[in-house]
């Protein structure tokens, strides 16, 4: 957990990509779940933030560099 947080602070690719992946997956689940309408409403913004974040952070340096 500490490694993950320090990776985020030091702008390392691994933890940021993980965060973006979680956001995309969360957005897709929110988009397709059949239970709560407001989750569906906010799904697109979550997926969009995750996708844009993924594109940006894939240019960050790898861990340990």
């Amino acid at each position: 957990m500490t490694g993950f947080l320090s990776g985020l602070v030091r702008l390392r690719r691994g933890p940021w990509e993980l965060l973006a992946t979680v956001l995309i997956a969360l957005g897709v689940v929110m988009l397709m779940q059949p239970y709560v309408l407001w989750l569906y409403t906010y799904s697109f913004i979550v997926t969009l933030v995750g996708t844009v974040m993924f594109i940006v952070v894939s240019h960050f340096p790898e861990n340990g560099r």
Binding site: T21, Q33, L37, F44, F54
Partner: protein, 315 residues
């Protein structure tokens, strides 16, 4: 020494043209070759994407192109993301996506594993199994509507044979509960061979000496399956899931031919709904926003899959 074609072409090139070409750097010549492709890519992919993003903020209607176009900000997105009918089509798509991928991976991997065991005539069986994916989706949709006919359809008779039910007592594409499963069955029938071929490539890429080493270490068949076969086929499986996931998210032709989105809107997938908004209701701006939402979702999913694939390959 014989005169080659290149020598003859070089001699035939007019002197001023040859001088001009000789004056260009390697980088410039590379650009000349690549430029047409880049131009086509920009014209066919990038420009329509940017244009669609632009239209998604307007109330443009393609059937009233002369009407003044008004910028309405995020209102199209707001309408789509609060529309319970579109939410239902998303759920129908999720059902279709989940179950088709589940069955295709399960059956495809099992078939690949069976075909990979050397037996007489396995090439013939491979050819027979891959036949459905060579057919046109429109043709498949059409003939499955006949197979699903309650009175004359073969499918109902096969189910009746195994269950003892009356063949005309159920309708696969006319029943609200069964229709979503009818499209899952047809897509699974058609695309399982594709997953099987990818899995087969994965299974055939595992060197025999790994299994031989496992045999020497007295690893059981079950252990070999879970510690050698599955991990080494996993990148191929993930590739199959990626391909099928993206393809099925965009699924249109097969389902339109089979059910037309009905009964009601139980099998109306997002792409069918999108086509209705764009070309039946002519709400072009609204449909553009809808398309952008689907695009971002598929793009996001593809990013996750590619990352996962690279991770598995690194192992």
């Amino acid at each position: 020494m014989s005169d080659t074609f290149a020598d003859r072409a070089a001699r035939a090139t007019p002197k001023p043209a040859a001088r001009r070409i000789r004056g260009l750097s390697d980088r410039a010549i590379a650009w000349i070759f690549v430029a047409p492709t880049i131009f086509l890519l920009l014209a066919i992919n990038i420009f329509p994407l940017i244009w669609t993003i632009n239209l998604s903020f307007t109330n443009f209607k393609a059937n009233r192109a002369n009407r003044a176009v008004e910028y309405i900000g995020l209102r199209n997105y707001e309408r789509i993301l609060t529309d319970s009918d579109i939410w239902l089509t998303m759920q129908a798509t999720a059902h279709f996506l989940f179950w088709t991928i589940f069955f295709q991976v399960l059956i495809g991997f099992t078939l690949a594993w069976l075909i990979n065991r050397k037996f007489k005539g396995n090439d013939l069986w491979t050819t027979i199994i891959v036949l459905p994916m060579m057919l046109s989706p429109a043709v498949v949709g059409n003939f499955w509507t006949f197979l699903y006919q309650p009175q004359i359809g073969l499918f109902n008779y096969v189910v009746a044979f195994f269950t003892g039910a009356d063949p005309s007592s159920f309708q696969m594409i006319g029943d609200v509960a069964l229709a979503p499963w009818s499209i899952v069955i047809v897509d699974t029938w058609m695309w399982t061979p594709f997953v099987m071929l990818i899995c087969l490539a994965g299974l055939r890429s595992i060197p025999d000496y790994i299994y031989e080493a496992a045999e020497i270490d007295r690893a059981s068949k079950m252990r070999q399956f879970f510690t050698i076969t599955i991990p080494m086929v996993l990148p191929f499986l993930m590739l199959a899931v990626l391909f099928r996931g993206i393809e099925n998210f965009k699924m249109f032709d097969l389902v339109v031919q089979l059910t037309g989105g009905g009964p009601g809107s139980t099998t109306e997938l997002t792409s069918i709904n999108l086509k209705r908004e764009a070309f039946e209701k002519w709400r072009t701006g609204y449909a553009s926003a809808y398309a952008i939402i689907l695009f971002v979702t598929v793009f996001g999913l593809a990013s996750i899959y590619v990352k996962a694939l690279n991770k598995v390959k690194e192992r």
